[in-house]
């Protein structure tokens, strides 16, 4: 199948890759950009392990084609820590609250939560649960993940106690 060139930025870095039109964004990031931190858990849009940010919105990279990302600004889990590897407040909160076990779902949850933390509208327990219930984790039972996101939101001034759970 003929390949097409697409250009986008990933974590601020400009990329130009040659991909088949049928190649998913997930595969494009993993196989053509070497960014294997984004995981594929179902490739049919249910698990959210493949969540990345495209132009500021959380997107399931298994449901989008690479060629659709032309000109987009993409962010993946590899862009969260500082250049020297220091964890950001959200990653640190996952570490401190045992927010991961096998770590397979973790990049997807981190990117989903990053969107929640950065959208500039504080959230409470109920909304956090609602948003995070779009991704699946089979190991933790979710409590550690919720504790982690809550801690990060508090630390970043994005938490509101008022919304009753």
């Amino acid at each position: 199948m003929t390949k097409r060139e697409v250009r986008f930025t990933v974590n601020g870095e400009a990329r130009a890759v040659l991909v088949e039109p049928r190649r998913t964004l997930g595969d494009t990031l993993r196989e053509d950009c070497g960014l294997t931190g984004t995981h594929l858990g179902c490739e049919h849009g249910v698990c959210g392990a493949c969540t990345v940010m495209v132009d500021g919105q959380p997107v399931r990279s298994c449901l989008m084609f690479g060629v659709q990302a032309e000109g987009a600004e993409i962010r993946t889990v590899e862009g969260l820590a500082a250049a020297d590897g220091t964890l950001n407040p959200l990653q640190r909160a996952f570490w401190e609250n045992h927010g991961l076990q096998c770590g397979y779902c973790t990049p997807g949850f981190l990117m989903l939560a990053t969107w929640l933390l950065e959208r500039g509208e504080p959230f409470g327990e109920e909304e956090m649960r609602h948003v995070l219930s779009s991704n699946l984790c089979r190991c933790t039972g979710y409590q550690g993940i919720l504790d982690s996101v809550r801690q990060a939101a508090r630390e970043l001034g994005q938490w509101t106690e008022s919304a009753p759970g």
Binding site: M1, E20, R22, R23, R30, L35, T36, G37, T38, H39, L40, G41, C42, E43, H44, V46, C47, A49, T76, V77, E78, L80, A81, G85, L87, Q91, F94, W95, E96, H98, L100, Q101, C102, G103, Y104, C105, T106, P107, L110, R129, H130, L132, S133, S134, N135, L136, C137, R138, C139, T140, G141, Y142, Q143, G144, I145, L146
Partner: protein, 752 residues
């Protein structure tokens, strides 16, 4: 402090949080081919032939194999030896003349690109002449092949005089109870990357759980000397019993790497996973109990039917065996008889899934106990108190075997845990509140399930520990990690025993070329078995360190203590030396590069942790859906190496138990077509369905096995969750829940 009991943050986490994990799909080898399995689209039939011509002609396709190409490879055997009566039921790596479930491998494609491999898969045509599918283990057995029936075996166990118990009974309680078909469904699907290295050794990445065993099994199947093959474990995205078993795809990838002379990579997709990886749990029990006036169970007679699916896989009959043996759980039950009919059906073959056999049998046992209470007009708590094994009876001989070991409960104070759990859950207050809500028209209730777990299955584990002159430790174990935090826990045990800092311990696991034998990670065994092996090796090292430090510090050994990477005089004089310095001094004398000791721990009995699950469930009057308002696990772990990790295991286990209780089920239509082939159909719990877990960890009954008092915590989060939720829904609706999962459809049939 970073020894046993510390809530140490995990050493595993940082790379995973940065997206630097190395899961199987992340690995590549130059020149690799991509493998794609062609799977049967029919549940049962005669395989007349496979036409692969069009696929072979597709550009980029390197080879296509059908059954005939691998006919000489023996089918996949069982991990336990000596089960030749089950041999006819083993699965070939590609179907030969029959297909027995939708998803069975019938051909395999190797191509330059994974997308092309999928294109080619669609061009392969398997001609299958349909036969009627077998959809239930309750159906009468039929022919499996010309000489064998579909009832592979009937397991019989028991003790005591069951006839006399029923003759003496004041009441006989009977129930038919069914558990649905579930599986572990880890978020990472399976995969393998096989290649032959420069030295001519076949290597397979993507191993998990039991790499040492699978290495030998693959060597046998492929006709290789064991030295010519090694298995390697990388990051593993969840195991839960199903990952790491030897499946057809592992053998196909290895065989292809040998035959085609190129690396072969296989990554399963999710649909394949739901069709091809082991299913579990589906059983129907017909149980009868003989009960006296007080509600004391005099005897139990149980017959059950285990839906094994199309073949008997690596676990052989482990699951029904555990179900049969562990059904009596924490109760005295002086007489017991069980017959477990293991039957083949036209479904994905079965194996273990977290708390195998116990999730099912706990549902049966605990539903029975509640029903006894109802029939006798007594309190379910009281019925349990009357029947629990008293502390004075420990160690308690269950007078049955399972997995080749006698079922001997090592320790336990069941009444004490019941009291603690009731207080923690505020059970009595809760009952009043729930009665009020029911009077106001809500369908809401509380239920419990008591269970006995098992952990630390032997027979052995080895470790090799090497210290260097900088105070670092390298710990090599034959155990495996499936994402449960093994590296952190084992480092903590070594820190406790030896006084090194946990942060300086590097753990190597799951590599068959790093240590000659190993049992792997299953049956909640690693912390107990490997932990005790570390104790043995660590104690030897400690003796050598203290002897050397005594010379250095001019103090008698007895006056020294090792902690936090230092050896200090206990007299407060401040005399101290770092462990690295002491090791360096020893190495200077011996001329060796590292100070190494090995430890081997053997155990011929398991240890038996125990616990109680409690749940509050509400039935939505509109949707008939079950909502879990509260969920608790009270669990005695003997001794927790890292309470944070133990709580994590329990919390994850609770969610999986909840999934099996109300959401998850593999269903089939009348033609044997599976209806749950995506994660949208196989509904697993999300953050919306799982309430905040309530966890009560106790350490009242340290294990008498080994040196450290440890029992495992891998499965106790799950075991009786189905039971507790079923009893809660029964309390909510006033009708006995007889089948899991309690889906809206089942609730509707229950209450109309």
């Amino acid at each position: 402090m970073d020894g046993i009991g510390a809530r140490l943050k995990r050493v595993e986490d940082a790379p995973l949080l940065r997206g630097e994990g190395r899961f199987l799909a992340d690995l590549n080898r130059p020149g690799q081919l991509h493998m794609r399995v062609v799977r049967a689209a029919m549940a049962h039939g005669v395989l007349r032939g496979v036409d692969a011509e069009a696929a072979r002609a597709l550009p980029g396709v390197h080879a296509v194999w059908t059954g005939a190409d691998v006919a000489e490879v023996p089918p996949i055997s069982f991990r336990m030896m000596g089960l030749t009566h089950l041999d006819p039921y083993r699965q070939p790596i590609l179907a030969q003349d029959r297909v027995r479930y939708v998803g069975e491998p019938v051909a395999v494609v190797f191509a330059e690109d994974p997308y092309v491999a999928e294109d080619a898969e669609e061009l392969v045509f398997a001609e299958i002449e349909p036969l009627p599918p077998i959809l239930s283990a309750l159906e009468e057995p039929r022919d499996f092949d010309a000489r064998h029936g579909t009832e592979a075996v009937v397991l019989r166990k028991g003790y005591g005089d069951v006839e006399a118990a029923f003759a003496a009974a004041a009441h006989v309680i009977e129930l038919e109870l069914a558990c649905g078909r579930h599986s572990g469904v880890p978020m990472e699907t399976r995969g393998a990357l096989a290649f032959v290295d420069e030295g001519g050794v076949l290597r397979m990445l993507g191993a998990a759980k039991v790499p040492h065993h699978n290495r030998l099994a693959l060597a046998r199947m492929l006709g290789l000397e064991p030295e010519r093959i090694h298995l390697h474990e990388g990051h593993v995205g969840g195991g839960f019993g199903i990952r790491g078993e030897l499946y057809p795809e592992d053998a196909l990838a290895c065989l292809a790497a040998l035959r085609l002379g190129r690396p072969v990579k296989w990554v399963e997709d999710r649909r394949e996973h739901l069709l091809a990886a082991n299913h579990s749990r589906q059983q129907t029990h017909r149980i009868r109990a003989a009960v006296d006036e007080r509600g004391f169970v005099l005897g139990v007679d149980n017959v059950f039917f285990h839906d094994q699916g199309g073949y008997v896989r690596t676990h052989a009959v482990t699951v029904p065996d555990l179900a049969a043996a562990m059904l009596p759980g924490p109760y005295v039950w002086p007489a017991y008889r069980v017959a477990g009919h293991v039957r083949l059906t036209s479904k994905t073959p079965g194996g273990t899934y977290r708390a195998p056999g116990r999730y099912e049998s706990s549902f049966v046992r605990e539903t029975l106990m509640d029903e006894i209470a109802r029939r006798l007009g007594k309190d379910p708590v009281e019925i349990r108190r009357v029947n629990l094994i008293p502390r004075e009876a420990m160690p308690f001989d269950r007078r049955m075997d399972t997995l080749g070991t006698p079922l001997l409960y090592d320790s336990g104070d069941y009444h004490l845990l019941l009291d603690k759990a009731l207080a923690h859950f505020r059970w009595d207050e809760l009952q009043a509140g729930l009665a009020g809500r029911r009077a106001a028209g809500e369908m809401v209730g509380a239920g419990m399930g008591f269970f006995v777990e098992k952990s630390g299955l032997g027979p052995f584990d080895d470790v090799r520990i090497t210290l260097d002159g900088q105070g670092n430790a390298l710990l090599v174990t034959g155990a495996a990690s499936i994402g449960q935090g093994v590296e952190t826990s084992l480092a903590q045990v070594l820190a406790e025993v030896l006084g090194v800092e946990a942060a300086r311990v590097r753990v190597v696991h799951g590599q068959t070329d790093a240590i000659s034998r190993g049992m792997g990670a299953f049956a909640t065994r690693v912390t107990v078995m490997t932990g005790n092996a570390i104790h043995i090796a660590g104690t030897k090292l400690r003796a050598r360190l203290l002897a050397q430090a005594a010379k250095l510090l001019q103090r008698p050994e007895a006056a020294l203590e090792a902690r936090g990477g230092m050896i200090r005089a206990a007299d407060g004089s401040g005399a101290e030396a770092s462990i690295g310095t002491v090791v360096a001094a020893i190495l200077a004398e011996t001329g060796e590069e590292g100070l190494t000791e090995e430890g081997s721990f053997e155990a011929h009995h398991m240890s038996y942790p125990y616990g109680i699950h409690m749940a509050v469930a509400r039935v939505d009057a509109g949707t008939r859906g079950v909502v879990i308002e509260r969920l608790m696990a009270a669990f005695d772990v003997g001794r927790a190496v890292n309470p944070m990790l133990v709580e994590g295991q329990i919390a994850g286990g609770l969610a999986q138990g909840l999934g099996g209780a109300i959401l998850e089920e593999f269903t089939y239509d009348a033609a044997g077509q599976p209806l749950a082939v995506t994660l949208a159909d196989y509904a697993m719990p999300t953050a919306s369905e799982v309430p905040p877990p309530e966890i009560l960890l106790t350490e009242d009954a340290p294990s008498g096995i080994g040196f450290l008092g440890l029992k495992g915590a891998g499965e106790g989060g799950t075991t009786a969750v189905g039971a507790a939720i079923a009893n809660a829904v029964s309390a909510a609706t006033g009708r006995v829940v007889t089948a899991l999962p309690i889906t809206p459809g089942r609730v509707h049939r229950l209450i109309g």
